[in-house]
């Protein structure tokens, strides 16, 4: 009902090429802020890259040992730590999180490789033409650059089982749409900024669709509900190209 909150229309999707906000890219220290009294957000300093994300994964692993935490939500080079009860001294929490960040060594998650068959072009590729206009590439080149890429699952979020994939060729980066598609189908293969992903729900979506994948990403009744996990490698295999 409130489209800007639906997956994945958050403005982060086109946030990644330029950062008018000086922080955190130009800082050496992480930025720590709060959401309400129980949740603390740590934003890593530096670029939006695999090195930063690996350190976020390491931090998440370290924080799993903290009994006071109820939930740990790694984001895109950031992490939300949700406490079970409101901490008495927020400054002490901030100091402790900073210390944990300093200690967090980069870890390399040896994830699985997921191969996703994609029909490029066709009825679901509603934004392929716009992508060609934006990039100056032909549709064939856009598709080739997309399926030749090797992607890393940075984090899951926004919708059940949705994986934010890093590793998109800079030549096919494209900002999200200012006016989201109101009813983009589950399975659309999309580009949002320097990220790509596969829509897991039918609904409003601000990312740019270039194809379609019939691949079950989430089953709430399965022992492991989400197919993707942070650190996994994703490859897109062109099943068909309809241009």
């Amino acid at each position: 009902m409130i489209s800007p909150m639906s997956q994945p229309v958050d403005s982060s999707s086109n946030a990644l090429e330029t950062s008018p906000r000086s922080a955190p890219a130009l800082h050496r220290q992480p930025i720590i802020s709060t959401i309400g009294a129980r949740a603390f957000l740590l934003e890593a300093p530096g670029d939006f890259d695999l090195a930063s994300q690996r350190r976020i994964w390491a931090l998440a692993q370290a924080l799993r040992q903290w009994d006071a935490l109820g939930e740990i939500v790694p984001g895109m080079t950031n992490l939300l730590a949700i406490f079970k009860i409101t901490p008495e001294d927020p400054d002490a929490v901030t100091a402790r999180l900073r210390e944990a960040w300093e200690r967090a060594e980069s870890i390399d998650i040896k994830g699985k490789t997921i191969e996703i068959g994609v029909i490029y072009g066709g009825e679901h590729a509603t934004d392929l033409a716009a992508l060609c206009d934006h990039t100056g590439l032909t549709d064939r080149e856009v598709v080739r650059l997309h399926h030749e890429g090797t992607y890393t699952v940075f984090a899951l979020g926004s919708a059940p089982g949705f994986g934010y994939l890093h590793g998109l060729d800079p030549r096919i980066h494209m900002p999200r749409k200012t006016v989201p598609s109101l009813k983009m189908a589950k399975g659309c293969v999309t580009i949002g900024g320097m990220q790509t992903g596969v829509a897991v729900l039918t609904g409003p979506n601000g990312w740019n669709s270039i194809g379609f994948a019939d691949h079950q990403m989430f089953d709430p009744k399965a022992a492991v509900p989400a197919i993707m996990a942070p650190g996994d490698t994703v490859r897109f295999l062109p099943e068909r190209i309809e241009l």
């Binding site: 709060t34 309400g36 949740a39 934003e43 109820g70 950031n78 989400a226």
Partner: protein, 331 residues
């Protein structure tokens, strides 16, 4: 067994929610007014977080197929076979009796709990309906007329014959949960990450009153008022969020994320509502006004503790009454 006779759209089964899965993109969901849910459950001898019916569109009518202890808390005006029930009330209905809920002016949502709880399958540790994910509750959907709900095994069998009520939290805790003289809801919040990037507009965010727009639902509330904007465009990387986060999309009118909040966001966030005030926001009606009041961790703890004490008080009183009735019944 319960038969739903009449229901508006978007009434769902909710329990205390499904936290713990945000890292795979799963929204916590759960009651918009968790305090009313807890009280309704405690009055019928359930665990405080058991599954109940959340009614947010009225009129709502259901029929009991057998004698059943139930409680109604939060909003709504309830009648049992056309006899008016007091607010925040529990009673035992007889087989065939009809419970009806009409809207109440002050509160948006009512919770109907039943002894034993609503028996729908647990999905990811919760019975809450996730409409967006299409799972939980009744096959992931809203209730429709004709739905039949099964109930779990009640924890106790003896209830006060004439019913039992509690003093609503807004009354019992009125000193801690103030409302402005003109009826504006005062919502305690802490500044969030991008607060200071709003420059002078940040102060206006706190000082003006905001109206809850019709584009508001369990996902979030869109607020209308004079827009607030950061002094320069703010671009964010996707970050995890929790209900209560106040984000500002480019238009400058804030959105407060609620129970069905997305798990990640990208808009700059100006504030985060204290969890202790979320139940009041969950009861705020479309068209009503609120103002954000800058708070502190210390105040948050005080409020958390006051709510916990109120809930504990209802739990122990309810248990005490149940024990006394059992003793009397055993004579």
């Amino acid at each position: 067994m319960i038969e739903i006779l009449n229901t508006g759209p978007l009434n769902t089964i909710q329990d205390i929610g499904r936290p713990g899965y945000r890292d795979i993109g799963v929204t916590a969901s759960g009651a918009m007014d968790p305090l009313a849910l807890k009280i309704a459950n405690l009055l019928v001898g359930n665990e405080e977080g058991a599954a109940a019916i959340e009614v947010q569109t009225f009129p709502f009518r259901l029929r009991f197929s057998a004698a059943t202890a139930f409680a109604v808390a939060g909003g709504g005006r309830a009648t049992l076979d056309n006899v008016i029930l007091p607010p925040w009330w529990s009673q035992t209905a007889g087989a065939g009796q009809v419970l009806e809920l009409l809207p109440s002016p002050a509160s948006a949502r009512a919770y109907i709990a039943f002894a034993g709880g609503v028996d729908v399958p647990l999905v990811l540790g919760s019975r809450s309906t996730s409409l967006r994910g299409a799972f939980g509750g009744i096959d992931g959907r809203s209730m429709t007329s004709g739905d039949i709900l099964q109930l779990g095994e009640p924890a106790r069998t003896v209830f006060a014959a004439d019913g039992l009520g509690v003093v609503p939290p807004a009354t019992a805790l009125s000193a801690l949960f103030p409302v402005a003289a003109d009826g504006t809801l005062l919502v305690r919040a802490l500044p969030a990450g991008e607060h200071d990037l709003f420059g002078a507009d940040a102060e206006r965010f706190w000082s003006q009153s905001w109206k809850i727009s019709p584009q508001s639902d369990r996902t979030g509330y869109r607020l209308s008022g004079e827009p607030v904007r950061p002094t320069a465009p703010v671009e964010m990387r996707s970050y995890g969020i929790v209900p209560g986060v106040v984000q500002v999309p480019p238009g400058g009118e804030p959105i407060v994320q609620m129970s069905d909040a997305n798990t990640a966001g990208g808009y700059p966030k100006i504030a985060g509502v204290l969890e202790a005030d979320l139940w009041r926001l969950g009861q705020a009606r479309i068209g009503s006004r609120l103002r954000f009041v800058r708070s502190s961790h210390a105040e948050a703890r005080t409020l958390d503790q006051a709510i916990a004490a109120y809930v504990d008080d209802v739990r122990s009183t309810s248990q005490m009454v149940a024990r006394a009735l059992k003793t009397i019944a055993g004579r």
